[in-house]
Amino acid sequence: MISREDDVLAAAEAWREAGRGVAVATVVETWGSAPRPVGSHLVIDADGDFLGSVSGGCVEGAVVEEAGEVIATGAPRMLEFGVADETAWRVGLSCGGRIRVYVERLD
């Protein structure tokens, strides 16, 4: 079965209850053609395991990396991705859209 937003958040709760460090990433804004709608979640643990998606695969790697920092420090971060980004060659959105992703630790 394909995981839905609710399964992803249920997993976040279960992971945290099991004592794992967990971060929740949420798409909070999109411009133009964006692969995943506002409200989509990616849940990440301290080991870099993740569930869900914020972009259908384009920028998950970068979000997981940032999530590691968020889990370590506890300070939430707002990330922005788009083709205009200088790192576009690495983590841009090929569809031409732009997205803003909020990453916070689950405490």
Binding site: R4, V24, P37, V38, Y102, E104, D107
Partner: protein
């Protein structure tokens, strides 16, 4: 994200209660407000709006940026009739993000072997639906061709404000169905909510193709307009 807030939201979802999680970006504060508590919340009106649209989103108000995470119950798909079309429809529904249930009092049809991974209830629809009443996040498909089984479900669906009601059968069959429902006191507006013949007109022939046409119609009803509001008179 606060674990207690997430727990409250996950618990509401499990019990099919709607609500909105409010996150303030400036101080990171968070709360989950159930629909029943909107009236008492300072952002109540905005939360109600977001829930009606069924869309999470950012909100800027008086110089403060918020994010609203909408928690609406997962749409349910109730299939009346453990028939061939239902066998194709149930797995398609799951892939599309709907929660299917099959109801059929005929025990020869309603067997787990015919419906792996789908809850099957071998009871009359009015009994089966009494324990899990349809709500505005429920779609109901009448697929038995048998008024004895379909009609009790249809009566409940019409009273319950389901976002989709579809009925299998020819125009002639449907005309008779409309007559029976009118005799029970349902008016034209209520009866116009029934999609019949069921499914989008894609020239479907096989049971699986008909299932595709039904799934398409259910998704259209779910997404094209906001869900029907609660509180329709029975």
């Amino acid at each position: 994200m606060r674990l207690d807030v997430l727990k409250a939201m996950n618990a509401a979802r499990r019990e099919r209660r709607a609500g909105v999680m409010v996150t303030r970006f400036d101080d990171g504060s968070q709360r989950f407000v159930e629909a029943s508590g909107f009236a008492a919340d300072p952002l109540g009106e905005r939360l109600d709006q977001a829930l009606r649209m069924g869309k999470s989103g950012a909100l800027a108000l008086d110089g403060v940026e918020y994010f609203l995470t909408v928690q609406a119950p997962p749409p349910r798909l109730v299939l009346i009739g453990a028939v061939h079309i239902s066998q194709a429809l149930a797995p398609m529904a799951r892939i599309a993000g709907l929660d299917p249930t099959v109801i059929d009092p005929r025990t020869a049809f309603a067997t787990p072997e015919r419906f792996p991974d789908t809850p099957v209830v071998a009871e009359w629809p009015d009994e089966a639906l009494a324990t899990a009443p349809p709500d505005r996040y429920t779609a109901i498909c009448l697929l038995t061709h048998d008024p004895k089984i379909d009609d009790p479900a249809l009566v409940l669906a019409l009273r319950a404000d389901c976002f989709y009601i579809g009925a299998l059968g020819s125009k002639k069959t449907h005309a008779k169905r409309i007559e029976r429902m009118r005799a029970l006191g349902f008016d034209d507006e209520a009866l116009a909510r029934i999609h019949a013949p069921i499914g989008l007109d894609i020239g479907a022939v096989s049971p699986a193709e008909i299932a595709v046409s039904i799934i398409g119609e259910v998704v259209a009803s779910l997404r094209r307009k906001p869900l029907r509001t609660e509180g329709r008179a029975p």
